[in-house]
Amino acid sequence: MTISTSAVSSLASEKSSFSDLMQETFALTRRLFLQLARRPSTLVAGILQPLIWLVLFGALFSNAPEGLLPGGMSYGRFLGAGVIVFTAFSGALNAGLPVMFDREFGFLNRLLVAPLCSRNSIVFASVIYITTISLLQSLAIMGTASLLGYGWPGPAGLILVCFTLLLLVFAVTALSLGLAFALPGHIELIAVIFVANLPLLFASTALAPLSFMPSWLAWLAAINPLTFAIEPIRAAYAGPLDLDIVLIHAPYGDVRGFDCLIVLTLLTIGLFLLIGPLLNRKLA
């Protein structure tokens, strides 16, 4: 009897601390969305930039000879997957900026004197926010690409696209949050974001297949996480979903669709484990 009462009461307190966690995470997330709603320029830029890539690059290669690309794909359709991934990637890379500004302006202290249930809610809020934004931006690009005649994945393909993007966004968000706590200020963070962005795009299969690249670049592209996200999505656009077929003929061996997802999963877990201690120290 006593045991069951104490079990009930401990359950009740657990439930209430869970609802506390929800309340604080929701409040912090809402703040980020309010900021976005009042300063939508970053959202707009985040959609415009990849859109310009899509239209300009698509046009640039529109008269390329048929059968140039593997599987006889049109360049626009080929490019679509790259630009979708790039959109999600560069969106998630910005995840650390709001946190960095909160550190710099001291707003973080306001959060830290509050009796937060867990300081992870600060991280959760950033992840929820940036994931939503990145997926929305990517969907906007997918819609535009389909209007341009570059295709639309089937239902199963769509799920694969979302799942792949989710993994990538989680990994990059973790990285960006880690940088936001490790770097001394927003100038340094913006510099890193700026420098990381384009080279990672060019050293991936976003714009051209591995077979077009000199071997040093093919090596880089074949270990670039972006490639591991791009190829499953490209496959989802290409036809019926089959994760067992080889998607990347990398210099070190063949990589199947499944392998891509496993690599992305491991990368995400690894990055969160890596930044965990840093966040704990900074938020202690």
Binding site: E24, Q35, F105, G106, L108, V113, A114, L283
Partner: protein
């Protein structure tokens, strides 16, 4: 039982020793003033109490809990109004208060009710739905005070709450603090304004170079000092020789202490007398030396005198000494998490 108990706190920022064995007891129900010049360690002390900063060594007991171990429980009991207000410029005041309420896990109904109460109490309704970026210093302070009070903490901590404020905002805040104290909230506030401590505090401590050097009620501290402060002039503008002559004369009188020539005030003389009867002796002595009294004023010891006695310099001098020496940019960079 003290609500805050600090023992032998030490804290350094690199080579700068901010706290050097600070001891402090804040009794429950008091409105406690922490008086000290810029750089004396007030903010550091308050940040340690609020669990924002860990001391290098020493004990921190707040609301009966070890703040270094039970940080979350302590945070729940405290409302903290920081010195530099960090607000989100894009949010409106109301949105900021709601966020604050959610971070303290208030139920939405209670939260919104408290927000309304504070909006009317702090006269914020005209601008509460404007973005915080457009607020004046006084408005920011009020919003910050409101967010500190939202969850009705038993302990309110304010770091120099009225620095740089207009008179109206200042008196609104003072009134609210007195009202809160009467309702039983314990309040600890730091200040380098004597008149603020004088107007509000029923208990106080003087902090200097990271140590508490005097502690008690303002009344007691002044009484302990004893004597009356007297300013004496024999003519409107005297000269050094005359002043020295009088000074020698005065020092021979029993019950006269600390005679100082104040050159800046036309060589007037400042002194301390034990009681009224000494004044009579002074008048007689001066008359017998053929000196007339042009002006004589007498006052009870002030907190400034208490500070002077404890540190050997006036609060104003201490303030001037340190101003401009601090690199606030570097400090906020260092304080970044």
């Amino acid at each position: 039982m003290p609500l805050i108990e600090l023992k032998e706190l030490e804290k350094s920022y690199g080579a700068v020793k901010a706290l050097r064995g600070l001891n402090l007891n804040v009794p429950k129900g008091s409105l406690f003033g922490l008086l000290g010049p810029n750089g004396s360690g007030k903010t550091t002390t308050l940040r340690i109490i609020c669990t924002l900063l860990a001391p290098d060594s020493g004990q921190v007991q707040v609301v009966g809990l070890n703040a270094l171990k039970k940080a979350r429980e302590v945070r729940r009991a405290i409302g903290y109004v920081a010195q530099d207000v960090a607000i989100d410029k894009i949010l409106t005041g109301r949105e900021l208060l709601k966020l604050q309420g959610d971070l303290y896990h208030l139920s939405p109904v209670y939260r919104d009710q408290r927000i309304e109460e504070l909006i009317s109490r702090l006269v914020m309704s005209d601008w509460i739905d404007r973005r915080c970026g457009s607020y004046s210093g006084g408005m920011r302070r009020r919003i910050d005070l409101a967010s500190g009070l939202l969850h009705q903490p038993q302990l309110l901590i304010l770091d120099e709450p009225t620095v740089g404020l207009d008179i109206e905002s200042r008196s609104t805040i003072w009134q609210l603090l007195l009202e809160l104290k009467n309702k039983g909230t314990t309040i600890l506030l730091s200040s380098h304004y004597l008149e603020e401590i004088e107007a509000l505090a029923d208990q106080m401590a003087i902090i200097d170079e990271g140590r508490v050097i005097a502690e008690g009620s303002p009344k007691n501290l002044k009484e302990k000092l004893g004597g009356d402060r007297v300013t004496l002039r024999v003519r409107e503008f005297s000269d050094e020789n005359e002043a020295k002559k009088i000074s020698k004369l005065l020092e021979t009188i029993e019950g006269v202490r600390q005679v100082v020539i104040n050159q800046l005030q036309g060589f007037s003389l400042n002194l301390v007398v034990d009681d009224e009867s000494v004044l009579k002796c002074i008048r007689e002595k001066l008359a017998s030396a053929d000196l007339k009294i042009f002006a004589l004023s007498q006052s009870r010891p002030s907190l400034d005198d208490v500070y002077l006695q404890a540190t050997g310099r006036t609060l104003m001098d201490a303030e001037l000494e340190l101003v401009g020496q601090r690199d606030m940019k570097l400090e906020s960079k260092n304080a970044m998490r």
